[in-house]
Amino acid sequence: MTPVLELKDVALRHRGSAANTVEDVSLAVEAGHSLALVGESGAGKTTLLRLLLGLSRPTAGAVRFDGAELSPGDRAQMRRFRRSVQCVFQDPYSSLDPRRRVAAVVAEPLRSLGIDTRAGAAPKVAAALERVGLPADAADRYPHEFSGGQRQRIAIARATVCGPRVLLADEPVSALDVTTRVKVVDLLAELQREQGLTLVMVSHDLSVVASLCERTAVLERGRIVEQGDTAQVLGEPAHPYTRRLIESVPRLPV
């Protein structure tokens, strides 16, 4: 089966930088499956996510979408790509436009991808808000009227409103309190299960990774040091860096 998204021997060097930010990275995610990119700040997680989103071009290697190389110049392909691959960011306080009502925020992908007009979007927006567990009257309110967890639900509604196949999530719950975190993790799990959504998640929170992703790739200084089934990677880590990450997770006293 062709993976939906694939990085093949990818390297990226920022302009003016002496070394590659990421190097020799190969990973693939198949439709309906989930992959986590794990590592500490500066490991290159977000750089890989930018590559997967088509926001940066690799210096070497290829980014493939449905088996075809992603070329930002090919507008037809990019339109298909943007319809299929959507993103949720870490900080729900800065990722929503504070001056627009939730209805307009959530309808944005429909409008910018030319899928629907403002009027045609309304039922889809309502359905998306319902799917993420927000009340219908949320549409008429502004982002500041919502808590952090609710804002992240709005961001997820926006990302899923156009019916994408893949959701890329950059630390989707690390800005949230622990009780809220559990609820948003549950929501993402439900979307995976019920919509068959493919999930690629960047996180340094191993318990969230273990809750949501079937496969895990561990990044250290721009290279993948270990990848495989999450149970394998986190249960029986082969690389010392992975072991160190797991041992560092603070635990409740028994």
Binding site: E40, S41, G42, G148, D177, V178, T179, T180, R181, V182, V185, H204, D205, L206, S207, V208, A210, S211, T230, A231, L234, G235, E236, R244, L245, I246, E247, S248, V249, P250, R251, L252, P253
Partner: protein
């Protein structure tokens, strides 16, 4: 001996909303207390009130006695004498806590020089020692660096060195590891634990993360919507939470943790 005694602390905004409601707790010399709560629970405001640092427009009533000084209603001059010497604070985000335009060494030298009266080469040496104490590698290089030139974990160590420079009797740590990576966080918690033990300092440790609080303190107070809902040893809070909110908090933490356990047969 009671070092910090908070009685009926209430913090209100200018328009009359109550953000911290009739809060009472105390910390003895050398004791460690955790304040646990989620965003909006009033835990950070409580730490600010303890130092008389509430933002403009907010007012505190009740009593906060820090090493015998009444903080509520105190004049700025009295507060200046208390801050740093009796209690010093490490904030969550080291990038905003440090002055971006000043080399790290000078920032540490300021409180250190004021306390010890050292100058010149002797002060420079003391700064090097202060940075070495928080286990910073190459203290001379770090001292010459600007905050943006060092990593997040290193910045938080500098912030800790700054707080310790005045040899406070109470260290207030407000989510000191939330902005850090997990392995850096583990190192930082061990460091705080070791330094505080050496100096027999008292700690008020604020966090939303029960597991993190458990690493540093034995006793904790759970806050919700500005009120204390439960107080006890961390052990009891985790094992037999009484308040529904604490139960909720523990259950959420357990749920996330169990995901890790199912898959790791340790």
């Amino acid at each position: 001996m009671t070092l910090l005694d908070v009685r009926g602390l209430t913090v209100r905004t200018g328009d009359g909303r109550t953000l911290v409601d009739d809060l009472s707790f105390s910390v003895a010399s050398g004791e460690r207390l955790g304040l646990i709560g989620e965003s909006g629970s009033g835990k950070s405001l409580t730490t600010l009130a303890v130092l008389g640092l509430l933002p403009d427009g907010m007012s505190a009533t009740g009593s906060v006695e820090l090493a015998g000084t009444q903080i509520v209603g105190a004049r700025e001059k009295q507060l200046t004498a208390v801050r740093g010497r009796d209690a010093a604070v490490v904030f969550q985000e080291p990038l905003t806590a440090l002055d971006p335009l000043m080399r790290v060494g000078r920032q540490v030298a300021e409180p250190l020089g004021r306390r010890t009266g050292l100058k010149g080469a002797a002060l420079r040496e003391a700064v090097g020692e202060a940075l070495a104490q928080v286990r910073l590698p190459e203290p001379e290089r770090i001292a010459r660096a600007y905050p943006h030139e060092i990593s997040g974990g290193q910045r938080q160590r500098v912030a800790l060195a700054l707080a310790l420079a005045c040899a406070p009797r109470l260290l207030i740590a407000d989510e000191p590891t939330t902005a850090l990576d997990v392995s850096v966080q583990a190192e930082m918690l061990d460091l705080i634990d070791a330094l505080v033990r050496e100096r027999e300092m008292a700690v008020l440790f604020v966090s939303h993360d029960l597991a993190v609080v458990a690493r540093v303190t034995d006793r904790a107070l759970v806050l919700k919507d500005g009120r204390a809902v439960e107080e006890g040893t961390v052990h009891d809070l985790v094992r037999a939470p009484r308040a529904p909110y604490t139960r909720d908090l523990v259950a959420s933490a357990r749920t996330l943790e169990s995901a890790l356990d199912l898959r790791s047969p340790r």
